[in-house]
Amino acid sequence: MVVRKRSYTIAAVVAFAATLAAAAPTPAQADEPLPQRTTGLVVKDGQLLISVGLGDLFGPAERQRLTSGFSTRVLIRVALQEASGDDVVSLAVQRAEIVYDIWDEKFSVRVTRGLGAELRAIVQTADESIWRATALWQLPIADARRMRPNVRYVVMARGDLNPISEDLMADVRRWLVQPAHGQRKLGAGDSFFGSFVSIFVNPRIEDSERQVRFQSQQFLLPPTPPAPLPAPPRPPPTPGRPGAAGRAGKATP
């Protein structure tokens, strides 16, 4: 009887171990590399500046929703780190907000970088508002004098559309399991580990509505001089408004 009990226990644990091994993400999955996006890099006044666009943060549906009358927020975070290491050398943040005025039929955009001044603009088209909100144009990311020579660096970037605050996310997570309307299970113990599976379909709730992540090409700084910057990007042309292409709108510092 004892031998039989032991064999059952070992069999159960081996089965469990096999399940665990199958369920666990493989190292390849965990280390899935970010896509690479060519990024403009230049040193100016001792600052490393980057230029890259994240216009793909807006798909057709997101673009259409810009005219909802409520604000659309964009958060872009970039981090500089050594290509061979894990440590973040420095980081920078750009936030933007777009609001469509349903009476004037114009888009208001405001952009701020880190603790810098707020830039506001009123533009005519959705495309132009997206460009203003998602383009990183010569964004200072690091003090170049603090970067080590002959070390390869890489810039990691992440853009979030309508990111959710931590407080709201905490509320959302609570509502998900303890939903409104008092729909708690009656008589069910709140077993901490007990439930093997509780199946429901989560609604589309993540920490932002849409996300873009990528990394730049690796680069040295100095002595390798950075690639020359391309010409400054221009706002996309305004459909149906010949000659409006590149109009920067009314900007105030």
Binding site: A30, L91, S165, L186, I199
Partner: protein, 489 residues
Amino acid sequence: MAAARAPAFLIALSLFAALRTSPAARAADEADDVASTATSAAPFQDARFGPRYVIDEVIVRGNHKTQKSIIVAEVAALGLFPGAAVDASDPRVETARYRLLTLGYFLDVRLSVTRGVSRGGVVLIVDVEERGTVVINELFPSTSAATAFWGGADVSETNLLGRGINLGAGFVASTTPVVPGAQSGLGLRLRAVVPPIGGPYGLSLSATVLYNNGSEFQRVMGAADDADPRNFIGAPVQRAGGVLGVGKDFRSGLHATLHVREEVISAELPIVAPPPVVDFMVYDGFSRLGSVTAGLDVDTRSDPILPRSGVRMALTVEAATGLLGSSYDFFKAVAEGSFYRPMPHGHALGFHVFAGAIAGDAPFFDRFFVGDLNLLLPRRALGINFSTQPSRNLLDTSIAHHRYDNYAGRVLIEYAIPIWRRRGFVYGGDAFVAAGLFGMASNGDAVAPGPFSWHSLPIDVTGDLGLRLDTYVGIFTISIANALSRSSF
């Protein structure tokens, strides 16, 4: 006994070590954390941006099944109703969207405005995309030496008739246990919860109907740690009744409940010959149980599935009395608490406490059961026990003598390591290890015969080790305790 389990824990520990976060993933997480901190330090100087509107009317679109009043009430609870002012960048708009999404009725929700009757006035439009609202709450497939198989499910329709009514049903059925005199088990539950009256912070009503037809196993011979089903005798017990309840959510996060339970119990207690002293903890023939239960629950956890910080505390007190027609007079109090503390690298430390006491004469199904306390044993399914397994007795104590008791306590410490955070099918996953102590006792156990020895204490070690996954289709826990408790021999 302990030697037999050593390989099991070695295997599990080695797997646990292999599942630690890779350096690259850790670096990415750290970068996100740092960037997140920087973000919160650099908000817009003026939170308000864009025009201010006055809501003329609220229109709901896309609700083919869900009643408009449910949606309008949720939005109105956040102050978005006709006559109210709202900014274009008002955070209540986003909160309303997520509040509606978490009802579970919709795949997507969007809020927008169109021009109202005059400049500044708007029509607030709530566009919803409905989804299927049947959910599986729990599955019960298990096996033990006493019962070859028991299984079942708990399923809910969360938006019955589009009125937000939650109608749930659960069942569990078993093969005939090999315990002499035992019958196959069947447990049924039917429950309904009506949305709060007058909005999300009103009173919600609930009702549950229950039927159990099973056999409780009582030892008549053999050593206390011998789980051989032939050492037990089955006492067929039927229960039928219901629970009526009222609940209320408060804005502070507090949830309060009050339930009244009435049951009829029919037991056919076997005659044991030669007669050992067997307490079946239920009256022979017909009896009744009537009780009232009050509960308080407060939850500030950062995440109910994979928490990193916060507290969850719950307190319930139940009184069964002849005033409610009960044949059983008892008072039961249960307090539970979980406390989480963030640790470096996104890890989390959890501290869980449970304490319960019963004074009086409670039937066995209302007493504290060892399987509900020890994670390594099968717990009751819809209130029915299908196992004769005693506690594992890893400390060589008197715990094997204890199955149903009036006092119970448990302390658990848990350490969780995030191994998976990303978009896709699996939102997140934690590897976790937990260990703790639990104890059970009844009146009279406090005075042990002979000199004191800790071996006489009715305590044991419990714990778990595994993965907890938050996925698109639900929450999965894959762990040693799950494996052992569902195949208990």
